[in-house]
Symmetry: C2
């Protein structure tokens, strides 16, 4: 590993330049107007794969954005690692809150600011460079590798499941490596062994056929904005408990061991609150903050809108109101079942004076893995060697639905080695990535391939 | 009056062309980018005043949009009518719901569609033409007249009160004529003797310092969208009753006579609902629809917004949420007192985990007049002659705060002779004006000046 690690040391500046090039591409998968940028980004990924020594590199078109694939199978008899990541990014609004442009990567205090820096371009490139170091320094990898980098993770990986189902042979492997999860804290390398699932829906309410003058009509018809507030409050009570009948039926409580492990983690509620600059913490009664994120489901109103929202005053009763509502699920909640329960309850609580329309947007299953799996233990040793300290085992409140897909369709376990930090503003303005973690993570990635090698 | 009325008949086509020219100017007073258009519209009004024979016509600049003034005082000994109107219009969003462009006046089925057609350009021009007919056909008016046409009615007439206070001599008169209220129904000419007042506020809520990933943080902090829903539902109960302590204290109940008068009006709830295409009517318990509009106060959420509202899905907990909330007031509620009560209650009901900021935007006092006032009776006779049937006496749910201002600052009674229809989409997409009412209203206006003349 010495030559591999010194190759990494000697090429850090170039790796950073390549990260900047990657981050300059506005690959927002959710915006139709960025479709060409997303395609350009796919070609950037394919070029990277060729440069680091992958073979069979190609773009697989989908009905949305392409999937990029590349492989190196030069070490028969050794395990094959299927390395998954995504090159698409979240939208950037509200853009006026960014200190530097979202696609103008800028380094301040050892952190690089740009949309996609932590989620997920920085972590994708980290694994590219971990592979490159082996191939350039040693001429070979200690394992076989396949890269599967998609461009639709931020829009629910809508074409990925079909692609995986149609390419089971191409993607056959022994383990999946994903780097898209945060470290527990700065200086605390972490292996993630559990994820929440997701159900995401849009509610549209319609009252009158057009907006009405609130003077001439105010007091005689329902205001869809009020109906929306009624619905939202009926979904969750003031103590953070979701009111959908049956919602908690399949929720798996933590084992006493897990509960003890979790209580040992160096979690500081006051610092957590301060980092968020939140006036107070708030969540489901009788659970700690970590439990609320990792092992309890939640329901959030991700967006709502109705009537006049511009500058100034307009005296209108809107014809329509809209909310985007998502639920984070934990084992063993099933997204389809939860979406059904949600829809049934929604119909009950919607006031009769408005028309409801519900759109199910996407979903993903929750996931939890055994910590003593050999690949998870290999990841733990790799991070210990790179960061100089033993990693902690954590869960994550976010969703990586593809983890469940790999288990179901390919029968593969996943190893989640992420190097993001919790305050790096994924999905928010001023997204950033700590460059120490990026650079150390490249060594961690290289170590992982080594630790996965048999004898 | 014969020559006056036949002048009106002979010039209808030109009047319509001039209305179209007036409507083509996008004089949206609420949009900074339309400032030049609003000024252009003020000059159009001044040109009209000169053409119909007004003297001393001029633009009075304000810190916002100019006030246009013109007078004809050639009949000493006769009363002076101060005719008030506004040349500014509401914003046009959502613009995609307009069948023809909001500033491309288009006639369909005897109605002219354009922003400002009924509110208030059509009705302003109606009075201009009523005056023009006298001056061109007879060489004089049966009364003296002063026109005061402002450009900030849709933004709360922010500079008008000061202007009136500073120009009491210039504006001295015997009665104010305002045409900015609807007829009770098609074919039912109406005189309005009561208006609701207004308080308009904006609420801004702040949670965390930036938008958060709803996976990583969902369940541990308050979501400002939830807090907003909590506030909205605490303001009004499910039976439409406003929950602000003291809110109803000064509400004047109808007299038995008024109640009887109101119950005689040809009001059809089923048709009202059908016209609005509302799934159901909804309002304060124990009051009829007409009572809810005319003599009961209300509270509406004119707009709300928070988080991701674009196309697709973004899993975010927003840092901020906003609502625009207005209350319609009835005699004898005072806007300042109600705004104070609202603010005090708002502070009580806002969850501790969000920061609240409240902006008072504007307000106006409610108003009610005695039906037997000589000027109101003159208006009644004028409409009877023009429309061929006796008008009804109605109130209006909207606000014309200037009516209270004229009473307070100049000691003047107001006569409200409007010819809009309730379904003409004031403040909404596809605003329109019935051309029969526009043309008949010009005769009604000419008759009114005649009826106001002494002996």
């Amino acid at each position: 590993m010495d030559r591999v690690l010194s190759y990494i040391d000697q090429n850090q500046d170039r790796f950073l330049q390549e990260l900047k090039d990657f981050l300059r591409i506005p690959s927002i998968s959710n915006n139709a107007e960025n479709k060409k940028d997303v395609l350009r980004c796919a070609h950037f990924v394919a070029d990277q794969l060729r440069q680091i020594g992958m073979q069979q590199t190609q773009l697989f078109p989908t009905s949305g954005h392409p999937i990029v694939y590349g492989e190196w199978l030069g070490n028969p008899g050794q395990p094959t690692v299927l390395c998954y990541g995504h090159y698409d990014v979240q939208p950037v609004d509200p853009v006026d809150l960014w200190v530097s442009g979202p696609f103008d990567p800028t380094i301040r205090n050892g952190e690089i600011y740009a949309r996609g820096s932590v989620d997920d371009k920085g972590q994708v490139l980290m694994n590219f460079k971990g592979v490159e170091a082996h191939l350039k320094a040693e001429g070979k990898l200690p394992v076989n590798i396949k890269f599967l980098i998609e461009g639709e993770e931020e829009v629910g990986s809508v074409n990925l499941d079909n692609f995986i189902a149609d390419h089971k042979e191409l993607l056959s492997a022994d383990v999946v490596l994903i780097s898209d999860t945060p470290m527990f804290d700065r200086g605390v390398p972490s292996i993630c062994y559990g994820l929440r699932g997701l159900v995401y829906c849009q509610i549209d309410l319609k009252g009158s056929s057009s907006d009405l003058h609130s003077g001439s009509f105010g007091g005689t018809v329902i205001n869809p904005n009020f109906a929306l507030a009624q619905i939202i409050l009926a979904l969750k009570n003031n103590e953070g408990r979701i009111q959908i009948p049956g919602f908690y039926d399949d929720v798996q409580e933590m084992t006493p061991d897990e509960k003890q492990e979790l209580s040992r983690l160096p979690f500081n509620e006051a610092k957590y609150q301060k980092d968020l600059a939140a006036p107070a913490l708030f969540g489901e009664k009788d659970y700690s903050t970590l439990e609320r994120i990792w092992v309890r489901p939640t329901l959030e109103v991700n967006g709502l809108c109705g009537g006049f929202t511009g500058e100034g005053a307009k005296t209108v009763i809107p014809a329509k109101a809209m909310a985007k509502i998502s639920m984070r699920l934990v084992p063993n909640q099933d997204p389809d079942k939860i979406a059904d329960l949600f829809e049934r309850y929604l119909k009950q609580i919607t006031p009769a004076a408005v028309e409801l329309s519900l759109t199910r947007m996407h979903g993903g299953k929750p996931w939890v893995a055994p910590i003593n799996h050999p690949a998870i233990q290999a990841a733990s040793r790799a991070f210990e060697k790179a960061f100089g300290k033993r990693p902690v085992f954590v869960r994550e409140g976010g969703s990586i639905p593809v983890v469940a897909t790999f288990a179901e369709l390919l029968g593969l376990p996943s190893v989640l080695m992420g190097i993001g930090l919790p305050d790096e503003n994924a999905h928010a303005p001023n997204e950033k990535l700590d460059l120490y973690n990026f650079q150390t993570g490249i060594s961690g990635s290289a170590h992982f391939f080594n630790e996965m090698s048999r004898g």
